[in-house]
Symmetry: C2
Subunit: 223 residues, 2 copies
DNA sequence: GATATATTCAAACAGTCGTTTTAAACTGTC
DNA sequence: GACAGTTTAAAACGACTGTTTGAATATATC
């Protein structure tokens, strides 16, 4: 007769094996990659048997997919909600900078915030080493975010050609991803000799830089 | 009595085992990552014995480092030369757009040109999964390129605060890296449903976008 | 308490991994 | 041809991989 361990207060121990496995897998997949993280390490980190991975998920690959499924929809919802939130302020006509900052915050948040940074690195890995169904990312996150951002941008920035939006989003996202990479790099190398790196300042820069870049297109229209 | 196989015309076969190993390793490390590419596959692809890797390089890790050593210095030289080349034109006062385009071309070249694209993907992998000595990249490529670009930028764009240059370079490099990623993604997924992607147009965009972003700082100075 | 289901466990499976070993073959020199 | 040094070859090493097995244990239902 054993309690289903719901009387402990430890945040990990009172979860079921399935959830502990997902948490451990996320951490280790993030740190060492899909091939670098072994089932034995994951099971050990989750305090359960090796066979549990196959029992609950049916294999390492399925486990990896489940790790992602937990995050994809919340990710999309957070981004879209953040965009819609800004658009509902300032009587539906917020400044371009406000929209950009909102996008930057939700985009770079999961990449930098200690709690969710794993997800960002995991994303960078998946970006290079595609192991998910090819269009899971595209369908569940990228495309919906893109259209929401597209609508918002043309509304906030009249004169901006809608066909230019994908390139603009590429520019913004590229800067933010690079920012996350650089930040983790600076944390690994302490004495880089490069100027010290301030996150808030960097985001301020990206917002300002991008706003100017976008307005370069909007002004084109008038000529 | 065997000829040292210098009478063949095949570009691979007339190289020595060491060079064939480096070529094969570069291709497979790029495609499957450091852990994903096995010594057996590399040796098979180079048409030589497994033990040759240890004989010539002393281990898999050393082989990986040698793959990089072939490229780091040429990479740096190409970037710096490209910058200096632009700066020597137009009587030492080229337009900002010219400088940006030159930087974009040499930066994105190794990421997209069929012949050298491997290097770009390999770079993205190394960026996430650091296996090289921590500051090899920083010392041999990033820092020298950064200072060259910094000098060029302040010369071409008077009024630009030198302290802002690292952030500006982050913005440009971020856009270019993202461009390379997106491009490889579009090649993997044929029917993405997203607008079709034109490389030249994308680079034009990045140059224009970034020029506007930079000028936003230069104009700040006057207020 | 007996039964059926759900979960855990240690052990073993068949592969692959990077590396080492040992012998063979080649190369150039005398 | 005999010798040295260099390079290749096949086989084996131990360690690790993801997965499967079958028995043991826990949980729930009657």
């Amino acid at each position: 007769m054993v309690m289903p361990q719901d009387n402990k207060t430890d945040s990990n121990a009172n979860k079921g094996v399935r959830d502990r496995l997902l948490d451990a897998a996320e951490e280790l997949f993030c740190e060492h990659g899909f091939e670098g993280a072994s089932i034995r390490d994951i099971a050990a980190s989750a305090n359960c048997n090796i066979a549990s991975v196959n029992y609950y998920f049916g294999g390492k690959e399925k486990l990896y997919e489940e790790v992602w499924r937990r995050h994809l929809i919340p990710m999309r919802e957070a981004r879209i909600a953040s965009i819609e939130n800004v658009m509902s302020q300032s009587e539906g006509q917020p400044r371009l900078e406000e929209l950009l900052r909102a996008f930057a915050d939700t985009f770079v948040g999961p990449m930098i915030k200690k709690s969710a940074r794993q997800l960002g690195i995991l994303m960078a890995r998946e970006w290079i080493d595609r192991r998910l169904p090819a269009n899971m990312f595209l369908d569940d996150v990228i495309r919906p975010t893109m259209t929401a951002m597209s609508n918002a941008l043309v509304k906030v920035c009249p004169g901006l050609d809608e066909s230019k939006v994908p390139l603009v989003v590429l520019s913004i996202a590229g800067q933010l991803v690079q920012l996350a990479h650089i930040k983790t790099m600076f944390e690994q190398i302490s004495d880089s000799g490069l100027p010290i790196f301030n996150l808030a300042e960097a985001i301020d820069h990206i917002v300002k830089f991008s706003a100017a870049g976008i307005r370069a297109y909007a002004e084109d229209k008038s000529e």
